[in-house]
Each structure stands twice: as C-alpha cells, then as structure tokens.
C-alpha cells in the first residue's frame, strides 16, 4: 500500500470518528432525558413568548423525530451553522474561529516549551539512569503531574506579577494578551490573528514585546500539563534506543559521544514524542479552558468557560465538537508526517 492509499484509509477512519463525535454532541444537545433542548437558548430571567419559542422549535426542527433532527443538525454543521451562542452574541462557529488564533498561539508555545524542556530532561534522565539527575527529573515530573495547573497559574501571578512588582523589580503581566496602552499607542492591523507573528511582520516591536511578555506565564503554566508526559516518554524511548546494537557500533567505530547522542540516539528516540504530539495538543486544548480563565486570555477556552456560567450549552457543546475536530486533524497530520519522515513505518 502506498502513501496516498494510506492517507485515504486514515481519512475514512477519522471521518467515522467525526461522525461518532457529531452523534455524541447531538445526543447531548437534543436527546438527554429530562433536559429541554430549548433551555440552552433561553437566558435565565428573560422568558421568551410562546410564539418565539414555537418559532425556535420549528427553526431547530424540534417537532421532527430525532433521526430527522440529526440529519438537519449535521447538514447545519457542514454548512457552517453551529447554532447561536448567547454568551458571545455571535454564531458559535464565528465566535470560535475569531478566538482561535489566541488559543493556538498559547497552545503551540506551550507545546514548544514542554518539548524544549522535556526532551533534554528525558534524555538526561535516561543517560544518568538511577543516579541523581534521573531521580531529580523523575521527582520533578511526578510533582509536575500532581499540580493543579490552575492553582499554579494563580501562584505564578502572585509571585511574578504582584510580589516582583511590589519590590519594584521588572514583573510579568498577569492578564490578557497585550497591554491596553500598548494596543492603543501602537495599534496592530490583524493579518493572521497571531499577535507575535503579525507584530513582527509589521515591524511593530513595542507590540511584539508586550505580547511576548503576556505570553510567558500562561504558556509556562500550560506547558506543565504536557511536560511530565514528554519527559516520561522521552526517558523510556531513550533507554530503549541506548540498548540497541547500532549505538554500540556507532561508539565502537570511533564517533564522538556528542554525534552519537544527537545523530543516532536523539533522532531515533524522539519519534514517540512526536507521535503523541497530537494527543498532547488535545490535552493542552482542554487545559486551555482552565489556564485561559486564570489569565483572562481571550481564546476559545475562556469563551467556553464563560458559556458554562451562562448555561450556554450550544456554545459549550460546539466547543467540544470543535476541539475534537482539531484533535482528529492534528493526529492525521502527525500520522502522515510520521509516515513520510520515518521510512520504517509500515502503513
């Protein structure tokens, strides 16, 4: 089987998963016993007239049997009608897409941070197995998965924003994506919505610096969610690679240790880390709900959290479908890249 067929086969499998996800989401919105599907559209304290309710009922096809409703629902999803969010006062899909760059900027920075810290730490632990560095790395990563990150985020705000500021030292901002005054003084014309990229492309350096400083604390907090996983996988796969015969061969033919470690060991050991990148990104998107709430980061996660407080299940469920779709797509890309990069992969 060649690569194109592999991609088609993977796409079919992922399509099935997405159909399943849409069913779960549909059941949540329309088929939960004892939950009125219309309730999500009514703002508490603002009752709707029975005419308006009946109109809404017809518009959502609630008078039809469930399978028919599902058909209409999926047709709506495909044509970009994901329902209306009371929280954002926007259509759900527009609200999500508008805030997506903020979340992607945060999540990608977090993935980069956890990889940049996690891969060397995992390598070090494997190379110095059972000695002090290994124990230290393992204890730290064990403590890392035990931290409630939202708590850690608040503590980081306390230390790096408040305490440093009170001591008159340079501190880090604790809320938002960019300083309000900077945004007024040096306005940024959005190109992609990624502040770091846009401000660099426009040569708007004050904006870039401010955006970068705002990114530090939330990205670090979010990276801790993936860090322990990266360290653990990297350590295990490095230990596996170190036992291989080609490592012995590489050393015995006189290659310097550095070359052997980077060219032979790292390249082989890093693939499991890359394979799990899709899953890690998914976990980080879940974590983004919490971290964005802590740092008032205007992304899709904070929007979903606001939706929860408003009982806006159209938005929350739409967010779920959105995240699941993103995860499926990222996993597909990772799989394909993996197959292209690593010739040993059998499709």
């Amino acid at each position: 089987m060649g690569l194109p067929e592999y991609i088609v086969k993977r796409l079919a499998g992922l399509g099935l998963v997405l159909v399943g996800v849409s069913m779960v989401v549909f059941v949540l919105l329309r088929g939960v016993p004892g939950v009125d599907p219309l309730a999500a559209y009514i703002t508490p304290g603002l009752p709707m007239s029975s005419d308006a309710l009946n109109g809404l009922k017809q518009e959502l096809h609630l008078d039809q049997p469930l399978p028919v409703q599902y058909f209409y629902y999926v047709a709506g999803l495909l044509s970009g009608d994901w329902g209306y969010s009371r929280t954002a006062a926007q259509s759900v899909i527009v609200a999500l897409l508008e805030r997506l760059p903020a979340t992607v900027e945060l999540a990608v920075s977090a993935v980069l941070l956890s990889t940049l810290i996690g891969v060397p730490a995992g390598m070090l632990a494997a190379l110095r197995r059972d000695r002090a560095p290994d124990l230290a790395v393992r204890i730290v990563s064990l403590a890392g998965i035990s931290f409630p990150v939202f708590w850690l985020g608040i503590i980081l705000q306390l230390v790096f924003f408040y305490y440093l500021g009170r001591l008159g030292l340079p501190n880090l901002p604790s809320r938002g994506r960019v300083g309000d005054l900077i945004a007024l003084e040096y306005p940024l014309a959005p190109i992609t919505g990624f502040y770091l990229f846009d401000s660099l492309a426009e040569g708007n350096f004050p904006f870039f610096i401010s955006a970068l400083r705002h990114l530090v604390l939330p990205a670090f907090t979010l990276s801790l969610i993936g860090l322990a996983t990266v360290v653990r996988i990297m350590r295990a796969s490095m230990l596996e690679v170190l036992r291989q015969d080609y490592m012995l061969l590489a050393r015995s033919k006189g290659l310097p240790l550095r070359t052997v470690l980077v060219r032979h060991a790292l390249r082989n050991a890093i693939t499991p880390v890359l394979t799990t990148a899709g899953t890690t990104l998914g976990i980080l998107l879940g974590g983004a709900v919490v971290v964005e709430t802590v740092f008032s980061w205007p992304g899709i996660g904070r929007l979903a959290a606001q939706g929860i407080l408003n009982n806006d299940s159209v938005l929350v469920v739409g967010f779920t479908l959105f995240v699941a779709t993103m995860m499926v797509l990222v996993n597909l890309v990772v799989d394909i890249l993996y197959a292209v990069v690593d010739p040993r992969v059998r499709y």
């Binding site: 931290f147 959290a305 779920t320 995860m327």
Partner: protein
C-alpha cells in the same frame, strides 16, 4: 529477595504516598464529625480575610469563616467523589470490556463507541456533559464517569482477549464450566491487574479534573466546601489574602502527589515490561 537500592527507594516513596493518602482518608472521614457543620454557615463579615494566626491556622475566608475547617471539610467531598467516580467507571468499564472480549459483535460496536469518547479530551468532554446536565457536583461526577469508563473498557478488553487464549480457559470449558462463570470467576480476576494498577493514579487525575471544572464554574456554591471552588472564590482576593488560594491548592497537590507516588509504583509493579 534483596532489593536494589533504587527499588527500596521507590517502595519507600510509595509507602509514604500510601501513608499520606490513608491519613487524608481518615481526616476526610472524620472531618464532618469533628468540625461542627455550623462553621460553614457561620458568616462573620467583620472577621473576613484575617491572616493565619493561632486561632485560625489557615486564616479566614471572604465570609469570615475558618479556612482550615473549610479545607478539612472539603477533603470529605473531594476524596469520596473522586473515589466513587473511579470505582463506578471501573465497574462499568470492566463489565463492558469483559463482554467485548467475548462477544465479537458487541466488541465491534463498543470499540467504535470508545474510539469516539477517547477522541475528545477528558476535561472538554466532561465539561460538555456536565454543562448539558446542569451545574452541580452530582452532574459533574456523572460526567466524569462517562469520560473515564472507556479507558477501562479498552484496557479490560485487551486483557481478556489475551487471557482467553490461555490453556486454563480451554480446561474450564472441557470441565463443562459455563461462559459467564468462566468470564467473571476466572478470566476477569486474572485480567484485572492493569486496571487496579491504574486506579490510584486515576483517582488523582479525576480529583484534579474535578477541581479544575469546579474552579471554572461547576462548583457547589459557597456553602458546600470543595477545594476547586474554594480556590475560585479566593482568587478574587489573591493579592490581599493569598492563603485563600494557597491552602486549598496545597491540599489538592498533596492528595494528588500521594496518589501518584502509589500509582507510579503500582504501574511498575503490575507491568514488568516497564521495569527497566
């Protein structure tokens, strides 16, 4: 058997984790009997946000209540909820997983269902389910059971599939032992170790997920002590009264760390492939 130093060290940490967790269980179970329930309703705005001192070791919260009492009372809810959630998820997952391992037609359907559930991040799926059911701790727990059972189902299915090929199963059949008895009296007990090994770490993970969801808005309100919502209500006063956030978070960290220490050891102990 002589254990290498490293093994001993690991076991010591695991034992420490277990001891801490058991003490937390005792504290959680005793808290409602030792601390009068009136503490939660004892609102004294004059005494609010007092820093820790000899009378109030953890200080007082934004309602003027003793924070130590609140954190201890919350131990009960947080621990019993996360243990109950994991236990229910294991019960459902093991049952369905064992059936899937035996009934081929059911297997196909169940595996597609678990594929779908596992393709959505835990926290996000739990959030969606709980938000549809309505904001409450009970609904949040139901949502978390829905999220966690597929993990055990997959694990159990794989175990049963490999276990059923072993000679003793054939021997049981030759003896005329019926399928249900073979499955639940012989195969499940033999196949359940990886599930048990995961359980401790999962209780910790469920605890953190529950606290996080309760922090973003699924919490039980100011009159039911719960760690995540204590942090949420304390965040407004983080610069004036950081102890409101520090102590409940430290309680979550301590619990989850103790469970992870036990879980780390259990995973290695039950899975020799990982012991390198």
């Amino acid at each position: 058997m002589i254990l290498p130093a490293r093994e001993l060290w690991r076991h010591k940490l695991a034992a420490l984790g277990l001891a801490v967790f058991l003490s937390l269980l005792i504290v959680g179970a005793a808290a409602p009997y030792v601390i009068p329930g009136s503490v939660v309703r004892d609102v004294q705005f004059a005494a609010k946000l007092a820093p820790p001192d000899a009378r109030h070791w953890f200080g007082t919260d934004d309602y003027g209540r003793d924070l130590l009492s609140m954190v201890l009372l919350a131990t009960n809810l947080d621990l019993s909820a996360s243990i109950a959630i994991v236990a229910s998820a294991i019960a459902i997952g093991v049952l369905l997983g064992a059936l899937a391992g035996f009934v081929h037609r059911l297997d196909q359907a169940l595996m597609r269902v678990t594929d779908v559930f596992l393709s959505i991040p835990n926290l996000v799926l739990a959030m969606a389910i709980a938000s549809v059911l309505g904001r409450s701790i009970l609904n949040l727990s139901i949502a978390l059971v829905f999220v966690w059972w597929p993990i055990y189902c997959r694990l159990m299915r794989g175990q049963v599939l490999s276990e059923r090929e072993k000679p003793y199963v054939k021997a049981l059949r030759a003896l005329g032992i019926g399928s249900p008895r073979t499955i639940f009296r012989h195969i499940v007990p033999n196949a359940i170790f990886p599930v048990v090994a995961r359980a401790a770490a999962d209780v910790g993970l469920v605890l953190i997920t529950m606290a996080a969801l309760s922090y973003i808005g699924f919490g039980p309100g100011p009159y039911v002590p719960e760690w995540g919502s204590l942090i949420a209500s304390g965040q407004a006063y983080i610069f004036q009264a950081p102890w409101l956030v520090i102590f409940p978070g430290a309680a979550i960290f301590l619990t989850s760390l103790s469970l992870n220490l036990v879980g780390d050891w259990a995973r290695d102990a039950f899975d020799p492939r990982l012991r390198r």
